[in-house]
């Protein structure tokens, strides 16, 4: 299907459109597995662009439509979505659990599905990363990279490299991360994986930023480079991330003064906050509100500062003690 190709090349509206064409025009002619694949794609899109509640709502309908329990694609999708949401909400135990389930699925009786296996370990690495167990995450990612390399899975290769860069960034090892990010970027370039490339560029910018404030200008230009791509085709999370980085670039730039151009910082932050609200991504939302509070502090707007600080606290507490853990598995 063309939609998958577009997903890799990075044009989200094209994915949606092609899938819709398929779902509308060939509804009567296509086999149920193909049709369900189309629906899966649509739901994925929903999750990325409209948040989880919409996606789960659609998922329910899809399950009604394709009741056969053999339908592994929808089942897989469900697990993917649950995993993502758990990660975002900070329910690490559940994420762990789902990751294990993935592992089981991948090495089932019928033989080892290599694609599933890579996905399982990818998710495991991400869970570990979220749990701040960096060395283990890096180990998993490294072994994953060798597997991908062995089986010539270019897309996965690039994303694993990106993940490694991310791991190093979070473990405050920006210099090491840079090499991975650069490798990932060049990988994507050679395979025309534009969206992935844009996110690699974004990570690169984050890494530069982590290296100190004198690299802010360079980071800013990198963000500018990737921004059209990300805003056009990236999901909510990526978009929010790019906005945060943009704001951070401005804030760390010693030549930039907040009081002169508060909009340059506040606009992207507001946008990011909006997107993250839909996504229920507590960690990043907390970051956004923190930055917002800082900015307002600079501007001397006390009331707004307090408000942002309160929101920040809200998200942090939500992240630290997941209250509604039990409802994470239901939807």
């Amino acid at each position: 299907m063309r939609a998958t190709a577009w997903e890799h090349y990075g044009s989200a509206p094209m994915v949606r459109m092609n899938t819709l064409v398929y779902a509308t025009c060939f509804a009567d002619a296509a086999s149920s597995s193909e049709l369900s694949l189309a629906y899966v794609k649509l739901i994925e899109q929903l999750a990325v662009f409209k948040g989880y509640s919409a996606a789960f709502c659609a998922l329910k309908l899809a399950e009604e439509k394709f009741p056969s329990s053999t339908n592994s694609q929808i089942h897989l999708l469900k697990m993917q979505l649950l995993h993502e949401r758990a990660l975002h909400r900070g329910h690490l135990r559940i994420a762990q659990q789902i990751g294990d389930e993935f592992g089981v699925l991948s090495s089932s009786v019928s033989g080892v599905d290599i694609e599933l296996k890579t996905e399982a370990s990818l998710r495991r690495a991400r869970t570990l990363l979220a749990a701040k167990q960096f060395s283990q995450a890096a180990a998993v990612a490294n072994s994953l990279f060798t597997t991908c390399y062995k089986y010539n899975m270019q897309v996965e290769n690039a994303s694993v490299l990106l993940l490694l860069a991310e791991i190093h960034r979070k473990s405050d090892n920006a210099v090491l991360g840079l090499t991975y990010a650069l490798a990932s970027q060049s990988f994507c370039k050679s395979f025309n994986l534009d969206l992935l490339e844009a996110s690699a560029t974004l990570t690169l910018a984050e890494l530069w930023l982590a290296l100190g404030s004198n690299h802010a200008k360079r980071a800013l230009s990198l963000v500018y480079q990737s921004l059209p791509m990300i805003l056009g085709h990236g999901g909510l999370e990526l978009r929010a991330r790019s906005q945060i980085v943009l704001a951070k670039c401005h804030l760390t730039d010693p030549e930039f003064s907040v009081s002169e151009d508060p909009c340059a910082v506040l606009d992207p932050l507001n946008q990011a906050a909006e997107d993250l609200q839909v996504l229920e991504y507590h960690e990043m939302a907390a970051e956004v509100y923190y930055l917002k509070a800082m900015t307002y502090n600079h501007l001397g707007k006390e009331y707004e500062r307090e408000e942002a600080a309160a929101r920040f606290k809200e998200h942090v507490t939500a992240l630290e003690n997941p209250r509604d853990e039990e409802d994470s598995l239901v939807y």
Partner: protein, 776 residues
Amino acid sequence: MAEEQMEEAASSSAAASGTPFQLQFDKPIPFQIKLAEWNPEKDLLAMVTDDSKVLLHRFNWQRLWTISPGKCITSICWSPDGKIVALGTEDGFVLLHDVENGKMLRSIKSHDVAIVCLNWAEDEPLSRTDKEDLLSYEDRTTRFFPPAPVMPRIGGLNSGDTGLADENEEAIQAFSSASCQRFNILCTGDKDGCICFSIFGIFPIGKININKVPIHVQSSGKRTSYRLQDVSISKVSLSRNLHQLVLLCSGKLINTDNLSLSNDLSVGVHCLHLDTSIFSNRKNELHQVSQQASSIQDLVEVVRASISMMSKQWSNAMNLFHEKFSALPSLLTAHGMESSSEDEFMSLLFGTHTSPALHQFLVSSLGEAGLKRIAKTIESAGRELRIVVSEHLQPAVEIISFRLAELRGLARWRSRFQNIGLDEKLMDGVTERVGMLVVQVERFSRVAATVLYLFQNFFSWVLKCVKILLSEPTDQVPSTNSELVVIFLKFLLDKDPIKQLVETDQIFEWDIDTAKHVEHLVVFGGFTDTKFLERSLAKQFSELEESLKEAFLMPFTTVSSQIHCQGLLPLYPVTSSDALSSTSTPASIAFYKEDKDSQHNASSYSSTDYICFKIPDGSLNLRNFVAVIKDLCNSCSTSSTPSLSGFLLHIPVEYECVDLSLYKDNQVVLLLSGKSSSESAGRSWMVMLQTENLSFSQLSRTFPANYYNLQELEVLELQLDTDYGKVRSIPHPLSTPLAVSASRGVACVFSSRRHALVYILDEDEDEDEDEGSEME
């Protein structure tokens, strides 16, 4: 004759103390030339004759092509890269022609009245020094898609036209790919005071009406606002960093605060300075948007042509079919039968009986040959349809949707793109529409395939019947499916779903199952407009067009609203009687790079505008004067240092200024022709003055006590043996136009005796080389 004149020229050059400007040649031309312009990149001269033919000559006077666009041409200019020549016509069209072969690439109607002046300015790469602001933006479309589809050709009979159209399309393709290299803007000014801006000459980005632009003038601390009425623009010039626009126009200046103040004197020629910094500040964004948008517009044209062609092809085929088969009902009534043709075919199919009417119809009026012919026509029409869909319509729609998706991404970047008017909501709407169109195209191709198959099946069945009726062997005929024949008789004999789809106002019926399905898909992120399948393909397309128009109008209006008037300088009054002729008085505007002192603004260079014009005799009580003014723009922006300055040049009484032009390095080239009454009739002079050697005097900007204060300027007497610059005599009475090319260093003058003379301005005649270099 020519030799004799050459001799004369030579002798006169010997007589003169020095002969600057090397004469390249002196050629008679069979036309009266109205306009002439040198190509900025190559040694090519484009000329417009009095009867609006366009000629392109090489430097060695070899003619490349001649075209006659059939419209009265009122202005001409070259694109900055020299690949396109733009012509402005009397009825407000801008025609873009290819330099290679003179073929018309585009014709854009942007004005309602005659386009008087054109100026095509390109952004200078040097003007951008700050690197980090540079957005590397790449058009991804070419990486993912094969070359964009072109308009479908209409095959068959009218091949005479298509040959031309085909080459034209190739040219358009080359044009759209070539023109997007560097950012440039074409401005066009018309007789009614409107100025249009279009990026790459094709994507309209702004339009302002000088009649409606408020002009604020700061004079002695007081702010007065003026307005110009009955404006007719005579000259526009956009600076090379696209930052400012200077224009000359005639009109009546009105004080909007105090209407009673205006008098007769306020009608005159004015010089306006407009702030177009939106173009330079938002250059990258405009470039990206216009690049995407203009190619989308191209593709929309392709889709339109495809749809109309499909409709034509199919209706031709169907007309033949209906013509033949309409004989059947009339035969039935002639036989006194009340059944419909559908019933008759049904009974034939089920073997009950063959009515005499049907028998007669099939055997005699239709016949085997006739049947085969119809079958063939429909089949070939169907094949054409399929080709058009797969090679033109479908890829075009797909690329449109891709490009729109890119634009939508840009629109989301609010901080950058909102202020050039790229609206996210509108773009979302358009993306939605194009998605529906893609679905429609897919559906259309399915419907078409089904219909064609049914037709094929039906025809072979009828053929079989005819053979049986004639008791001929039927083993040659392919077997048929009688179920499909029934479907055909039920749904296709009287109806035409293909026609329904390609014609605008048909409502297409769609079964409930699909409707439900579509509604269901909304939950999954499908199109919220669930009724879209009821629309026909053509209707969907026109809706897309509408929303596209709306979306692209936003940048247009937003940018237009950000062009402001920065300053005004009344030049000279004209009495209303010669207001018309005032547009034809020679004038020239140019921007020069000024090397500012390092302490001033070290990093950026600034460009200074020079305005040079002839003051019509009698105006300002001056006779035979030419004025040169510089620094209007800077004087408007920084009021602290009034730098506006200029001088008047008095031309010897026995000569009159025919035309003038500004030339590189702050020079002015004047063409002086002897007045017919004086002894110097028939002789002319070309004078090049170095303005730096001339003393500029400051011009105060006081309003409104004295509108026209040009008299304040210092007057310089121009002597032909002056050492201000270079002078060369030309043994012809001269006429307009003077075509000077700064980048090529050449000038072409036209004599009223239909001669063209080309001079190389930078080189002097060989024998006088020493003296010439001395003068430089």
